[in-house]
């Protein structure tokens, strides 16, 4: 954390006693937050309006004005608990040794799983360290999964990697984001050859371009398919089905209960 943040505390953490100025104790390194408040903030990825999925027919439920943020779990500060700290220590040490100490955006610990948010430009070197460093040894990449958050401006597309260390019997998750306008993420095929098909699949379904992939082509959809079907703005499709005189609309036009 830089020096000038000491005298303007973030608004989320107001002084308890009104009129108390931050004194020398507040700005000493021991009393500073271990990570920047920005990283600890829960990630708002969108907002949910109304209830019961009512759309286009006016507000008959009385809940139409309801607006709730969609919040993903926020970052965690030390200690993360259990072996998470060992892995984080080893990783940070390796990152410093490799000259990419700012590679981690934040660390999320949720439901007993640890997620490292990695800056996309550093993904390839972070993956290599995670595989080769003796205290880390994540030998197996369990694959790449894409997630599309259309309302998370500038971070619309996420690529999620699940890594397994058989040596230490541990699992971690890497998450990398990229904006929809510039959907490029470095490929990890050079480190984990198994990511070959998984990255092709993520490209096929989300349009994330994995730079450095040996042959990034569609894998599930036909080669000339327009669009990327797993994106949230891509319709599911379907036709109405008649059953015993009634018509059941296709699933993407049914009431969704937001």
């Amino acid at each position: 954390m830089s020096d000038d943040t000491g005298d303007k505390l973030p608004e989320e953490f107001p002084e308890v006693t009104p009129g108390t100025e931050p004194d020398a104790t507040d700005v000493t390194p021991e009393n500073q937050l271990p990570v920047s408040p920005e990283a600890l903030r829960p990630e708002v990825v969108g907002e949910r309006r109304g209830m019961f999925g009512v759309q286009g027919s006016g507000d008959t439920s009385g809940y139409g004005g309801l607006v709730k943020p969609v919040v993903m779990p926020g970052g965690a500060g030390r200690p993360y608990g259990g072996w998470f700290d060992e892995v984080a220590d080893a990783l940070e040490e390796a990152l410093r040794g490799g000259g990419v100490e700012h590679a981690l955006e934040k660390v999320v610990v949720h439901r007993g799983e640890i997620t490292f948010f990695v800056r996309r430009e550093d993904l390839a070197s972070v993956a290599r360290m995670l595989r080769d460093e003796e205290r880390l040894r994540f030998e197996l990449c369990s694959g790449v999964s894409g997630v599309h958050y259309p309302d998370d401006a500038g971070r619309e597309l996420h690529a999620v990697y699940h890594l397994l260390s058989m040596t230490h019997n541990r699992r971690v998750r890497l998450e990398v984001t990229c904006p929809d306008a510039d959907p490029h993420i470095p490929s990890v095929v050079a480190t984990y050859p198994t990511a070959d098909w998984h990255e092709r699949e993520t490209y096929d379904f989300f349009g994330v371009v994995f730079d450095g992939h040996p042959a990034l082509t569609r894998i599930e959809m036909p080669d000339d398919w327009p669009g990327h079907p797993q994106r949230k703005d891509y319709p599911l499709g379907g036709i109405p089905v008649e059953y015993k005189g009634a018509t059941v609309p296709p699933p993407d036009t049914r009431r969704s209960y937001s």
Binding site: E113, G146, V147, M166, N169, Y192, P193, T194, W197, P251
Partner: protein, 454 residues
């Protein structure tokens, strides 16, 4: 789509546009025309190699798998897979159904091991709901029982189809004979032979039906007589060994680099099994061994599958003993906001229903009716976050990456299917070998295209 659209019209890019050599269309029984044609090409032809497209419709490719093989004589110089012929958008569909309905979709992915698809998805949802500790013991034991029965049926198909592909038809017939017994048990317990949607977030859908434990014990006793038949038929059979030994070689470093798990990884001598290393559903309470073989070849994978069926029988016996002591225990979490509201029974009209439950919601309690309606139509909400709880399926590590945004439907459910990952190893396993060995190598991977393409 306009009415003028003709799906049968020739594509603007015809096959010959993308091909650099001469194209032969083989329809069966006419291989000599290709041999003749390649010979006639002379200098014009590219030396003496030929690119053969195998599949997607071919009995030996485990469903709609397309292989593109470059041959020099009978030696494979390059091999690639073409997949996607069975892609049905299951993951996308799951985003438009409730969390409970998701089970109905994912059970259809890897159709030979449906309980594993359901289990990994439900374990992920339960972790997000933070109810992992609340799952009743009986539900966990039933999950283990069903998964191990499923491992036997899946391995039987792997051995049966693998045998059929090398001409050992008796292996196929006895494999499917025994698999039918397992499917009968599934039908007894879940009501369906495949696509069960039986494991649900919070537990399982139904209690054990009366008499099921006796039938399971009979099955175990019968399998102990039948399994030695496979060993007697195959283990030392010179033709069988001649086709399988040293074919489809993949060592430990290759497995880890390519993310290959399951029997293929264990055939390198490495005893990695998630049931032991990262137990779920209470696997730490069962006594069984992780079977390995150290030959790195197709024969080792066959022997591992055979041995694993014995271990599964051991687990089934222990699970059946535990179930005998859990008569009448709950099979679903106590939280009524998650648990499905009724215990269904099949009525005379063949539909599942519970008359007691209908009497309760229609005649006694308005609140119960509202609750039933809300839970069935809207479903429950799952706190925002993501989870990944892999299980050891018959083919390796199967995991569901489940993402919730706090809504009543999965925001994203991605399945890491072992068939999809393991199939990448097809190239390294078969390049440099004979074309007939490609089939053996693929059979030893045991890919299920429903799981590959999802």
């Amino acid at each position: 789509m306009s009415t003028a659209y003709d799906p049968y019209a020739p594509s603007p890019a015809t096959a010959s546009d993308t091909s650099t050599g001469r194209v032969f269309t083989v329809t069966g029984q006419d291989w000599d025309t290709v041999v003749q044609g390649v010979g006639d090409l002379g200098d014009e032809g590219h030396e003496d190699h030929v690119v053969v497209n195998m599949g997607p419709q071919h009995p030996s490719t485990h469903g709609v798998l397309r292989l593109i093989l470059e041959l020099e004589g009978e030696t494979v110089t390059e091999a690639r897979c073409g997949i996607g012929y069975l892609h049905t958008g299951i993951e996308k569909n799951m985003e438009f159904r409730t969390w409970v309905q998701g089970v109905t979709f994912c059970t259809r992915m890897d159709y030979l091991s449906p309980f594993y698809n359901e289990a990994t998805y439900c374990l992920g949802v339960e972790r997000l709901l933070d109810i992992e500790e609340d799952i009743p013991e009986k539900a966990q034991v039933m999950r283990v029982l069903l998964m191990e029965l499923n491992r036997i049926s899946s391995h039987l198909v792997a051995i049966a189809t693998g045998g059929m592909e090398i001409g050992a038809l008796t292996v196929m017939t006895i494999g499917f004979r025994e698999r039918e017994l397992v499917l009968d048990l599934f039908e007894l317990i879940t009501g369906l032979r495949m696509n069960h949607a039986f494991i649900r977030p919070g537990g399982v859908a139904q209690d054990m039906p009366p008499g099921a434990l006796d039938q399971i014990r009979d099955f175990v006793a019968l399998m102990k007589k039948r399994l030695p038949e496979y060993a007697a038929l195959c283990n030392a059979n010179p033709i069988f060994k001649g086709r399988l030994v040293d074919v489809g070689h993949l060592d430990l470093a290759g497995c880890l680099a390519l993310g290959v798990t399951g029997p293929v990884l264990r055939s390198t001598g490495y005893a990695w099994d998630l049931r032991k290393t990262q137990p779920y559903c209470g696997y730490e309470d069962y006594d069984f061994e992780v079977k390995t073989w150290d030959t790195c070849d197709s024969y080792g994978r066959f022997r591992i599958r055979l041995d694993e069926m014995w271990e599964s029988l051991k687990i089934i016996e222990q699970a059946a003993d535990r179930l005998a002591g859990l008569e009448g225990a709950p099979v679903m979490v106590g939280d009524k906001k998650i648990a499905w509201p009724s215990q269904l029974a099949v009525g005379t009209d063949g539909m599942g229903n519970s008359l007691d439950h209908i009497r309760h919601i229609m005649g006694e309690s308005m609140e119960a009716l509202i609750h039933h309606f809300k839970l069935v139509t809207e479903g429950f909400r799952v706190p925002a976050g993501q989870a990944y709880v892999p299980v050891e399926s018959p083919r390796g590590e199967l995991g569901a990456h489940v993402v919730s945004d706090g809504g009543t439907r999965p925001y994203r459910a991605h399945f890491r299917d072992p068939s999809f990952t393991n199939l990448q190893a097809m190239s390294v396993m078969s390049e440099g070998g004979m074309v007939a060995d490609v089939i053996v190598a693929i059979a030893s991977l045991d890919p299920v295209m429903g799981g590959v393409d999802r």
